[in-house]
């Protein structure tokens, strides 16, 4: 599906990946607004993490990380792209900022492992994305504990457990989609 190339020159692959990375940054920004209520969870799931998982797997380590960096820069520049329509450098230093920093490393880990092992196998994808997701949560929970002065259990109750059912759904969806489409193996 992604192989529809109307043109091919020396530099075009790079420019195309750059535009793709921008598209994914835009999708992350839009995804923060899409709220899907699910029965087994008190908080609605947003598609933000879903696109972070997907960008690593589809674009690979380098462009996946850059895509998340562009998304964070958009937020720093004051556009309401972080969850719930918030923005600004204050969010990065604030209690939930660890998750935002974690997105960057999560996308890198997922991208690196996907580059290494390929993304054709759904089971392998799930394992890779679990690794990436846990990196995101480690950063998020550590900053939450540190900045908001909470104990580990409190931070887990506030920042991780309510989101877990949604995270599992997103992870499976992202794993299935990235097994079908990839820009890397072209």
């Amino acid at each position: 599906m992604l192989n529809v190339n109307h043109f091919q020159t020396t530099n075009s692959n790079n420019i195309k990946k750059m535009v793709f990375a921008s598209l994914f940054a835009a999708l992350m920004a839009v995804g923060a607004y899409v709220e899907i209520p699910i029965p087994a969870s008190p908080v609605p799931i947003t598609l933000q993490t879903f696109f972070v998982l997907l960008t690593g797997a589809i674009l690979g380590a380098r462009w996946g990380t850059i895509s998340v960096i562009v998304y964070l820069l958009l937020g720093i520049a004051g556009l309401p792209v972080f969850s719930g329509g918030s923005s600004g450098l204050g969010m990065i230093f604030g209690p939930t900022g660890g998750f935002l920093i974690g997105f960057m490393f999560g996308a890198f880990i997922i991208g690196y492992l996907s580059d290494r092992f390929g993304t054709k196998n759904i089971g392998l994808n799930i394992a890779i994305m679990l690794a990436g997701l846990s990196v995101i949560y480690v950063f998020g929970i550590l900053q939450l504990m540190n900045v908001a002065d909470l104990s580990l259990t409190q931070a887990l109750v506030l920042g991780m457990i309510p989101y877990l059912p949604g995270a599992v759904l997103k992870l499976i969806a992202a794993a299935v989609i990235s097994s079908r489409y990839s820009l890397n193996q072209e």
Binding site: L74, G90, D149
Partner: protein, 256 residues
């Protein structure tokens, strides 16, 4: 899509006229200060400084209320956790729920800290246009060793503008698609799975096509990431230099 850019309030005050780089660096300095604050007196000082800046720049206070609102439930949770689970003198006691005085102090300091972090960030974005911040960030990122990532700071700024173009485009095509599918008899409430499939597949297709078009347009204009000139040339004035020195002194005093 106008509400995406509502965070910028045009004006001619001194904060509007400062260099974007000074403002971004200043925001970082202020953020470090706020994270160090642990007494109500300094919090009150912060509030006064903030109010003076807002009034001096003729900004509406309501604007800042709106910027804090999305995060308020989360801050309330953090406050309650500190209030209920900190050891100390009892303030009230409802069987299982015990509030302590120390917890109240700690919780309110933390919540105020986070609210001020967001307020000062909102102050900067209210007085700087998105393109101004983009070029400021671009200039600040230039000395970083980004070339090991295979990208220049111009590329990053370019990608930020591209994303700014894609967000409204995605919203618009989504609205068009939804109208088109509804007029063909799609009932979103009755068949949610079918609705998701019949909306996302064409949306992804449209997005991919516009990626191709943008890439072709950039390619045919010989895009390169290095040595680009800009429409807005940033320049430091004496006030900017004075403020930079002030930040350095402030941070030096704070961490000594």
């Amino acid at each position: 899509m106008n509400d995406l850019f509502l965070s910028f309030v045009p004006g001619k005050s001194f904060l509007h006229r400062l260099d974007p780089r000074t403002k971004v660096l200043g925001l970082m300095a202020v953020s470090f200060c706020i994270l160090k604050v642990s007494s109500f007196e300094i919090m009150a000082l912060m509030a006064i400084i903030f109010a003076i800046l807002v009034i001096a720049c003729h900004l509406p206070f309501l604007h800042f209320v709106r910027s804090v609102r999305p995060m308020l439930p989360f801050f309330t949770f953090i406050f309650l956790m500190q209030l209920l689970f900190t050891e100390g003198t009892h303030l009230f006691d409802f069987g299982l729920l015990k509030g302590t005085y120390e917890g109240f102090l700690l919780g309110s300091i933390l919540a105020l800290r986070f609210i001020f972090l967001i307020l000062f960030a909102a102050l900067i974005t209210a007085t700087t246009s998105p393109s101004g911040i983009t070029s400021g960030i671009e200039r600040l990122l230039r000395p970083l060793p980004l070339k090991y990532l295979g990208i220049s700071s111009h590329d990053l700024a370019m990608m930020m503008s591209l994303s700014l173009y894609f967000v409204p485009m995605l919203f618009d095509s989504f609205r068009d698609l939804r109208d088109a599918q509804i007029s063909r008899g799609l009932d979103i409430r009755k068949e949610p799975v079918k609705a998701i499939m019949s909306l996302t597949v064409p949306l992804v297709r449209m997005a991919l096509r516009s990626v191709d078009e943008v890439a072709l347009a950039m390619e045919s204009r010989c895009y390169t990431g290095e040595g680009r000139s800009s429409m807005y040339v940033l320049e430091f004035r004496s006030l900017d230099y004075a403020l930079l020195v002030f930040y350095c002194v402030l941070l030096f005093l704070l961490y000594i």
